[in-house]
Symmetry: C2
Subunit: 277 residues, 2 copies
Amino acid sequence: MSRTAFFISDGTGITAETLGRSLLAQFESLEIRMVTKPYIDSTEKAQQLADVIQATAARDGETPIIIDTIVDQTIRGIISQAPGFKVDVFTTFLAPLEEELKVHSSYSVGRTHSIGQDDVYMHRIDSVHFALDNDDGARVSQYDTADVILVGVSRCGKTPTSLYLALQFGIRAANYPLTEDDLDEDGNLKMPRALAPHRHKLFGLTIDPRRLAAIRTERRPNSRYCSIDQCLQEVQQAEALYRRFHIPYIDTTRFSIEEISTRLIAETGLQRRFSPR
Amino acid sequence: MSRTAFFISDGTGITAETLGRSLLAQFESLEIRMVTKPYIDSTEKAQQLADVIQATAARDGETPIIIDTIVDQTIRGIISQAPGFKVDVFTTFLAPLEEELKVHSSYSVGRTHSIGQDDVYMHRIDSVHFALDNDDGARVSQYDTADVILVGVSRCGKTPTSLYLALQFGIRAANYPLTEDDLDEDGNLKMPRALAPHRHKLFGLTIDPRRLAAIRTERRPNSRYCSIDQCLQEVQQAEALYRRFHIPYIDTTRFSIEEISTRLIAETGLQRRFSPR
């Protein structure tokens, strides 16, 4: 017997889902099926969803959990008739906030994840294209206008991190792969020529060599590229470079893209250029 | 006189910030400075932050708003001594949830945005690289394994949307640009050969021609590419193609990447392959 949780919104559902997943992650022993229902913005859709919740309750034999950020009172009224344990985010917090702020809230739908200010939004899109254009050391001539340059060996997480930084924070993140081309005669990594003028912008990523080997095996099985010896050597060389040149770095092995990105911002003090309104 | 809101977490801060921005977006008439403080995971960091909040309160002459998802009671205790109007997300909702679920919550830090299951995470990274490899019609041979193929004219939002779908939902999204190469002798867009076998996977994006011209002007000013006539013609041809072949599509003009992506999922019924735990 398992329960179902519904994250319901008249907008994208991102707030309801983010909060809902956080709360339910605290009950790890339970198996809870999670369903996001965005754009419940008409009485028809609300009635349909109420029917679905009703049917789910009957099937599960357990009361569904309903976490919602619906603003419209009529729509909320319809949903509230369905059986469910309700976590009513806006009602719970908006009334006390109104009192504290001495202003009535506007009770308007989907404000956070809407497009917002045009120039800020353009900047976000621009950052995404910057990350793409400057992926994998492709166009080092643009490093002048980078906010940060991620360095690290192939498949340590540079590309997803640079894209996340662009999409979520409007940060212009280039990335540069450390390869054997940058080894000196002693077998040490030297500071790559393209990076030398931008040392203050560098941020290193490292990773456990075994995890790196596993990731590379998915991509190119049975190659030198994915062998544990090769991975070990590359990671050691990269970390030696970071230490020699005092490049700040983090180990991505147990971190999600969200964690790598937010830790990078926390450690560097980089300013976001975009935030969801 | 303006107020400051602090979004505080012992993890990434994503949940506190997402909820905080949503709540405060309902008070659009107020100017509220928003500050995210992630990784407040030691008593030292907590004490430092409490001092910052104290100083901010003095400077603003207004009580700061504090929205937090801190789990640790000691850390929370330190923060609570700073002056602030507290929106205490976990305490408010976890106790009633514990009662309903008849289980004690684990009160553990930063569960949601951590790395989670390895295979699911690999799938997410794989989707990001898929989106990159299949950007702008680069590698049509991989369309077999795409979950969705976004089509549209240059700069209508295909690339950021395909990356967002990959990063947030683990959806394998390719994208294909509609260009004059795909016009037939009558000046109509024909179904591009690479797309014909995958018609059921197509999803169209369209955009207001004036907005498109503005976006293209940022990129290549004073070109035919960014002229309003050119944009108007391309958009008309694209929309005609969508209608002729019954390709579902949405107008991205007033939508953020979050809205385009979540609407696409809602309309197509695409299954996510990744969710933050």
